[in-house]
Amino acid sequence: MEAILYICLGLMLIFGVMAVMFHSMTKSAIALAAASATLGIIMYELGSIWSALFEVSVCSGLVTVIFISAISLSNAEKKEVEKVYADKKRMALLPAILIISGVVLVIAAMSAGVSLPPANPAVKAANDLREILWNNRQADIWGQIIVMITGSVAVVVLFKERDQI
């Protein structure tokens, strides 16, 4: 199990960096979707099954669709994108920065003595997710309802062409 987790961690980091560094927006969005999928696999292996399902279906699906529709509503030519924004050049430093900061973080963490306790597999939560969500987090549920109302009003206000409403 550990091997899968290490590989997926590395893949998620690589896909994230690819999403930042590509100059073409569609490839960027697809790399983001791949990163979400690997995050879903990691979460499944760590034991949170329901949120892995949510992550894969919503972030890797819905958000990518939103991005691709936003990109296609603004169809600039590919050559012009590359010249004007120069993303490849401006982001070229990113891998170097990440490697350096990775080394710095490891050294800092070792000298400061940070070490997370290993997870104790014997202590598994006794409650099911659904019980906790509906019995212990009721205020969050009200919050989610209100956010969805706000989101629907946002779509009406920002995307409608007519002047009324």
Binding site: Q138, D140, W142, G143, Q144, T150, V153, A154, V157
Partner: protein, 487 residues
């Protein structure tokens, strides 16, 4: 259920009912009646929060816990709760919403139904933030407030307002990322994010099992809430967002949103993590720098609303200083300053709306000598800026006095001195604005100018009366608090 329960639940339920009614009415009727509905809701909130405050103090409870449609008796279930502090902030929310509706009556022409929908979700989010008892629910309602305010700024789709909304969105997303990361580090060590359990987990004293991670969590949480407050060095979004929005929305943003979203977060932080001196020192330094930087930038601006926005940055510094003193006196000064700042910021933005309505411009270099044509606006502007500078007998004097006294008692004499002297800077930039707009020679194109009428004039008169009344009557409030044993 008795009266306290009904009123407490209404803070959450009333905006929801208004949203439902607003969307069920037929379109033409809704366009006409929606602003009146929202105004009625705001007045009801003012009335219920005052009533609940006196009911709560009469029953000698420290806080009152309630729930909405769920069983609160089950073990581990969440609860809403109102304390005296949250009732004061709920009163401020109702007050500023009422003033905003008064201004919106004259400045908003189209899309009224959607405006009231978003306005009610904003009020709902702010009400929710002060009544929850869990750090993660605090974050959820913080996001609701943020999302509603982006859309309110961007709603009328002018180029400037879209730009201001975009900058605010980017900074606010950064703030959410910082706050959530900080919360996850705290969760790692305490196992739960409810206020009672975080408080007793003794994180402040020994730093928990991972002191480095706890301190990183504190830094991230302070940075996140500082972005939402508009404290230096994260203040770059505030002038753009407040200048480019419609004036009715600017009143809300500057008058209550930056306080509930940012300052209330800091109040909760210092409440939960009592024994950490580093937090207080950071807040104090951020406060001092905000006061000075905000005032210095305000001296250079030419747009009326931008001066007022930088003044907000400066006054947030005063409130941060009050919280950082760590004593009850400092907290009292901060809360009173929240109310006072709401009143004079509302007055200033009402004047901005009046000037924009009548002259069509907000550039102070183009105005001049308007005192003779718009006397009510001129006088309320003078009252507002004297109150900001902290001059008796206006209301701002009392809150600044309380904050400076709290700092003095805390042996931070240097900070108290700097706070006292920066009143001069405050008076300086406001005098410049007053001179350029109202005094001086009247330009030729304004000979036909009239005073603004209708609800904006009513708002200006009411706010000036409140500033003077609170200024003169504040010793009564101090006596009442002394009788209750708080001071």
């Amino acid at each position: 259920m008795h009266a306290m329960a009904y009123i407490a639940v209404s803070f959450f339920v009333l905006p929801l009912i208004i949203i439902v009614i607003n969307n069920l009415l037929p379109k033409k009727l809704a366009e006409r009646m929606s602003l009146y509905l929202a105004g009625a809701g705001a007045i009801l909130q003012i009335a219920t929060s005052v009533t609940e405050f006196f009911l709560l103090s009469a029953s000698h409870l420290h806080e009152y816990e309630f729930s909405l449609l769920w069983n609160i008796k089950k073990v581990g279930s969440e609860r809403f709760s109102v304390t005296s502090l949250s009732l004061v902030i709920l009163f401020c929310i109702g007050f500023v919403s009422f003033v905003s509706i008064l201004i919106a009556n004259q400045t908003i022409e189209k899309k009224k139904t959607s405006y009231v929908n978003l306005f009610m979700t904003l009020v709902l989010g702010m009400n929710g933030m002060v009544i929850v008892t869990d750090l993660f629910s605090l974050y959820v309602f913080l996001e609701i407030v943020g999302i509603s305010s982006f859309i309110l700024i961007a709603m009328f789709q002018s180029e400037e307002s879209l730009e201001g909304a975009f900058k605010y969105l980017v900074m606010s997303a950064l703030a959410s990322i910082f706050i959530l990361t900080g919360l996850s580090f705290i969760f790692m060590q305490t196992g739960s994010l409810q206020y009672s359990q975080v408080r007793t987990a003794a994180l402040g004293g020994q730093g928990g099992s991972q002191p480095v991670l706890t301190y990183i969590a504190f830094i991230l949480l302070i940075a996140g809430f500082a972005v939402k407050t508009g404290a230096v060095p994260f203040h770059r979004w505030l002038p753009d967002a407040h200048q480019s929005a419609n004036t009715a929305v600017s009143v809300l943003l500057s008058g209550i949103v930056i306080k509930v979203a940012g300052i209330y977060g800091f109040i909760i932080l210092t409440n939960l993590f009592h024994g950490v001196p580093a937090i207080n020192m950071t807040l104090a330094i951020m406060g001092i720098v905000s006061i000075i930087v905000g005032a210095l930038f305000a001296l250079r601006q030419d747009h009326f609303k931008r001066i007022v926005a930088y003044s907000s940055v400066s006054q947030m510094g005063y409130i941060l200083l009050g919280i950082s003193a760590g004593s009850m006196l400092g907290l009292l000064g901060a809360v009173v300053h929240i109310f006072n700042h709401a009143t004079f910021k509302c007055t200033l933005f009402s004047n901005a709306a009046a000037l924009h309505e009548q002259t069509g411009t907000l550039d102070i270099n183009e105005m001049g000598g308007l005192q003779s044509k718009m006397p009510v606006t001129g006088f309320s502007n003078i009252a507002a800026f004297l109150s900001t500078a902290g001059i008796p007998p206006f209301a701002g004097f009392w809150s600044k006095l309380l904050i400076i006294m709290a700092l003095w008692n805390n042996n931070s004499r240097v900070f108290a001195g700097i706070a006292l002297f920066s009143s001069i800077l405050t008076a300086a930039y406001f005098l410049r604005m007053q001179k350029k707009v109202f005094f001086g020679k009247l330009s030729d194109k304004y000979t036909k100018l009239k005073e603004v009428g209708g609800s904006i004039k009513f708002a200006e008169i009411m706010l000036t009366a409140v500033i003077i009344a609170v200024g003169i009557g504040f010793p009564l409030v101090l006596l009442y608090l002394k009788g209750r044993g708080i001071l």
